[in-house]
């Protein structure tokens, strides 16, 4: 890679087939190095760690063994563990996808009342930590005094509690419900980009609405849906909050909880080696899914339909029962999602938890909120949290934009490498990533600060960010950028002044998505916790274990409100912008 310059001062001449400007070259190589450090290095640490003997800490100089693999492969429970993991991941993703598709169809293709509100709410739900839902559901469904159980028992005069959150089924359903917003947002993007004349053509051919749905709409959405499903399954395989608080009792450990239990037990030494070896299997599983993902994405290229200029989405008019049913479905979902939140809100009002009743209302107070706020630590927690999600999401989005640009616009070997690298974190269990980061930054001044968590989140959410930005970039005609280049704009200027402003709504949406996920993530903050880097998610977890239920609930509510206050206005702004454009 040599750069030669002509003598002319105004002429910047380079010799590098792919990158025709020095800035671009520098950025590309910088990105590649960054991605390798951020992603390939943790993978290496993961593999190295998996060969450590039980109880050894990485870098302690202990000799390497195959014991962990041996114990996993010969352990009688391994097969069951994998099967359970897959059932959980596939099951919950299926629920998420099916509901996500239904809602996306209703809001994008029918005249369902309150479509915009649904869209905005869906985005806001994403910001609610899975933990919050988990705790809420436990309060609602536990066999002891779960509100629903108590009510159903009273109404039907039952002896036994009819529901329990502590079962594989409940775990799957609860996780599935939580996955709906993510699925919804991805699917509605697909629907928006579909040429409605494909459906019209079938309608004119004499097909009924149902046949069209079955024979045209569904198959057309299949590749896109499949790739979304694979993505969801991957995140579900690694999802550990809910399996932790529900699955343990249900005695249904999955891979992610096994890793966590090995890496962060309650006594003895963490078995990093075993955790990493599990992680390697998880990575292999995710890698296989990733392979499928790329196959599917590739296949879906040819499904991308040419759209004529008569593109004008038409809304299906819902009639009578259809409308009632649709409203019930959407309303039901939101009610279902609201219940755990309301339960927590209720719990936050009392010094100790009581079953909801009017009698109890007399004792309600905001004492827990005041208590939480009066603690000196709270200020630091808030600062840390804000710092964490603002910087990690902003940096992740900036990186995603650049990586996607190289992957989509420039292609070639380096583009593909970046695409693959940026997607790889999906295959690395977060906890393993956290261990790796701890190792990597131990001797740096970053150790123990919030910045290590920021780096972890950037690495984790890069995969989503690049997927989203890839999608946005593909839709933008590259002539728009070429026009800037030919106008004499440098590469940076063409991105800054032309490309990014055009895909601004996508950027903002992606940013919000990462904000929401970064604010709710527990794995990194918990694993890398020190005195100075507590964030709200860890504070919630600590309080729950304290135990301080009202405090926990109060913190949860404050987090949800704060995130909603951020998400909802931006969503309204974006909706408004979209409407103006149409």
């Amino acid at each position: 890679m040599s750069i030669s310059r002509t003598s002319s001062a105004t002429t910047e001449a380079v010799w590098e087939p792919d990158t025709s400007s020095t800035a671009r070259l520098v950025v590309r190589n910088g990105l590649l190095i960054l991605l390798v450090v951020l992603i390939a290095l943790p993978l290496l640490v993961l593999i190295y760690t998996s060969f450590l003997p039980p109880g050894a800490v990485p870098l302690s100089g202990s000799e390497l063994t195959l014991d962990n693999y041996r114990s996993i492969l010969t352990g009688s429970g391994t097969v069951a563990l994998f099967v359970r993991t897959i059932i959980f991941a596939v099951g919950s993703s299926a629920i998420g996808i099916v509901l996500g598709i239904s809602f996306a169809y209703l809001t994008e293709r029918t005249d369902l009342p309150g479509r915009t509100a649904v869209r905005i709410l869906m985005f806001s739900w994403m910001a609610v930590p899975a933990l919050v839902f988990g705790y809420g559901w436990i309060l609602l469904l536990n066999p002891g005094n779960g509100i629903i159980n108590v009510m159903v028992k009273a109404i039907f005069n039952l002896e036994q509690a009819p529901f329990t959150p502590y079962s594989m089924q409940a775990l799957t359903v609860i996780a599935g419900l939580g996955a709906v917003p993510t699925a919804y947002i991805m699917v509605s993007g697909l629907l928006r980009n579909m040429d409605p004349s494909l459906e019209d053509a079938a309608f004119v051919s004499g097909a009924s609405r149902f046949v069209i749905l079955r024979k045209i709409t569904a198959p057309l959405l299949t590749p896109g849906t499949l790739s979304i499903s694979i993505y969801l399954i991957m995140t579900m395989v690694q999802h550990f909050d809910l399996p932790m608080i529900i699955g343990l009792t249900a005695q249904t450990p999955v891979l992610s909880t096994s890793i966590y239990m090995a890496a962060a037990p309650d006594f003895g030494l963490p078995n990093y080696g075993l955790a990493a070896a599990f992680g390697v299997f998880l990575a292999i599983l995710a890698g296989a899914l990733m392979f499928m993902y790329f196959r599917v994405v590739h296949a879906s290229e040819r499904y991308r339909t040419v759209t004529g200029k008569s593109f004008r989405p038409k809304l299906l008019h819902l009639r009578g029962l259809q409308k009632v049913f649709a409203i019930l479905l959407v309303g039901g979902y939101f009610a279902l999602m609201l219940m755990p939140l309301l339960t927590l809100a209720w719990a936050s009002l009392f010094p100790y938890y009581r079953l909801p009743s009017f009698a109890a209302l007399a004792d309600a107070s905001f004492a827990a909120y005041f208590r939480v706020f009066s603690e000196p630590q709270t200020f630091r927690v808030i600062v840390n949290t804000v710092l964490l999600f603002l910087t990690s999401s902003t940096l992740a989005v900036v990186l995603s934009c650049l990586v996607s640009w190289f992957a989509v616009r420039l292609g070639g070997k380096s583009g593909r490498a970046m695409d693959l690298l940026s997607f790889a974190p999906t295959a690395i269990p977060p906890i393993v990533m956290a261990i790796a980061l701890l190792m990597m930054f131990l001797r740096t001044p970053l150790n123990g600060t919030i910045w290590v968590i920021v780096i972890g989140h950037i690495a984790m959410y890069l995969s989503f960010g690049t997927r989203a930005m890839n999608g946005a970039l593909i839709q933008i005609h590259r002539e728009l950028e070429d026009a800037a280049t030919v106008s004499g704009a440098s590469w940076g200027t063409s991105l800054r002044k032309v490309l990014f402003p055009i895909i601004w709504p996508h950027i903002l949406n992606t940013w919000l998505w990462i904000v929401a996920h970064s604010a709710r993530d527990l794995t990194f903050p918990l694993f890398l916790l020190t005195s100075s880097n507590v964030v709200v998610a860890t504070a919630i977890y600590q309080r729950w274990n304290y135990p301080d239920l009202p405090g926990t609930a109060a913190l949860c509510m404050m987090l949800v409100l704060a995130l909603s206050a951020l998400v909802i206005p931006i969503q309204i702004y974006l909706e408004h912008k979209n409407l103006n454009k149409a």
Binding site: V57, P58, L59, S60, G61, G75, S76, G77, T78, A80, L81, I138, L139, N142, P143, G144, N145, G146, T164, Y166, M244, I245, L248, T249, Q251, P253, S258, M261, A264, P265, D266, F267, G268, L269, P270, A347, P351, Y352, Y353, L355, E375, P376, Q377, L438, M439, L442, R443, N447, G448, L529, T530, S531, Q542, W544, N545, Y546, P547, L549
Partner: protein, 337 residues
């Protein structure tokens, strides 16, 4: 970083220059307690130390310290507080903590330190100090279960009528401690029977207590600290010791190798173990091991006298070995192996 002193004066002098202290510990819990402790400590020794208390469980602190040490640097914390005897021994074996002549150095200012040292068994006499004692028992929510119905013994928990209704620590405490009385085989057999009764696992004994208070389970196996705390706050929780086995566990406080403020750390550790409970108990229940006057000790004596319950407490390295085996086996069972 200051050099670690070898006698009280050096340590005190060192502490004066250090001025900071980072403690990673799960007990005591409240920030008010932490504030009161450092205030009393500073007054006692004429210091102006600032305390940073990170409420991490000992296992997190231990593994972090080990990792940091292996990584070749100093560790993040000055003091780790809350480890069981099992974990303390493990850390000593890993070289994270080394022997220190506590009585020799601090015996004059804090005479009771000698009693505490004697609670450690010989091989590990000087590596750490016990500063907390907890007893396991049954906690229940009187709103959901009548006092009379609450099980009396561990065997009562196996009754099928409690299926799915018992709150239990997901890391199986105190079955491992009970093994000192019932042996490895007895503990494993018991655990299998208990798991078949589908207890509601919560991550940690305190989480079990939480579930009981919220009514998610009518009762569960909890420990005395939490029980006493709830008693003070008026939460709907009652506590009693089992009539067959009373599991006791000491929690320990120690200074890891490479602590950034070794002098303050030593001084605070010694003071905390000896006098901390007296100061802290005003804010949350704290019971110093060997404090004959404590309520807990009286409760245990009464229970033993009334029912003949056996007290199960670690008494030597062979016990630790047993409990480690139990833990491993149970983990395998739960993992489905």
């Amino acid at each position: 970083e200051t050099a670690a002193g070898t006698n009280f004066d050096e340590i005190l002098a060192g502490a004066k220059t250090e001025g900071k202290l980072t403690v990673w510990g799960s007990f005591p819990q409240k920030t008010e307690t932490h504030a009161a402790l450092i205030k009393a400590f500073n007054e006692r020794f004429g210091l102006e130390t600032q305390l940073e208390w990170v409420p991490n469980p000992p296992i997190t602190s231990n593994s972090r310290a080990l990792t940091e040490k292996a990584g070749g640097g100093s560790v993040s914390m000055d003091i780790i507080a809350g480890s069981s005897m099992e974990d303390t021994v493990l850390m000593a074996d890993q070289g994270l903590i080394t022997k220190f002549p506590w009585t020799e150095v601090f015996g004059e200012q804090l005479p009771a330190i000698k009693d505490l040292e004697e609670q450690m068994f010989d091989e590990y006499r000087d590596v750490a100090l016990p500063y907390y004692v907890i007893a396991y028992g049954f906690g229940w929510n009187p709103n959901f279960i009548d006092d009379a119905d609450v099980p009396e013994t561990y065997d009562d928990l196996l009754d099928p009528k409690w299926k799915g209704k018992i709150g239990f620590n997901s890391f199986f405490a105190p079955i491992n401690i009970n093994s000192y009385v019932i042996g490895y085989d007895g503990a494993v057999e018991y655990a299998k029977a208990l798991f078949a009764n589908q207890p509601v696992f919560e991550k940690g004994t305190l989480a079990v207590q939480n579930a009981v208070i919220s009514g998610a389970v009518p009762f569960g196996v909890i420990n005395s600290i939490g029980a006493f705390t709830s008693e003070r706050t008026g939460e709907p929780l009652k506590f009693k010791l089992p009539s067959d086995i009373i599991a006791l566990s000491n929690l320990h406080i120690y200074v890891p190798e490479g602590a950034p403020h070794p002098n303050t750390a030593r001084l605070f550790t010694a003071w905390m173990a000896v006098e901390g409970a007296t100061v802290g108990d005003a804010y949350e229940p704290m019971v110093r091991p060997g404090d004959k006057s404590a309520d807990l000790v009286r409760m245990i004596e009464e229970r033993v006298a009334a029912t003949g319950a056996k007290v199960s407490q670690v008494s030597g390295p062979e016990d630790l070995e047993t409990s480690e085996r139990v833990n491993k086996t149970l983990a395998d069972i739960v993992a489905g192996k």
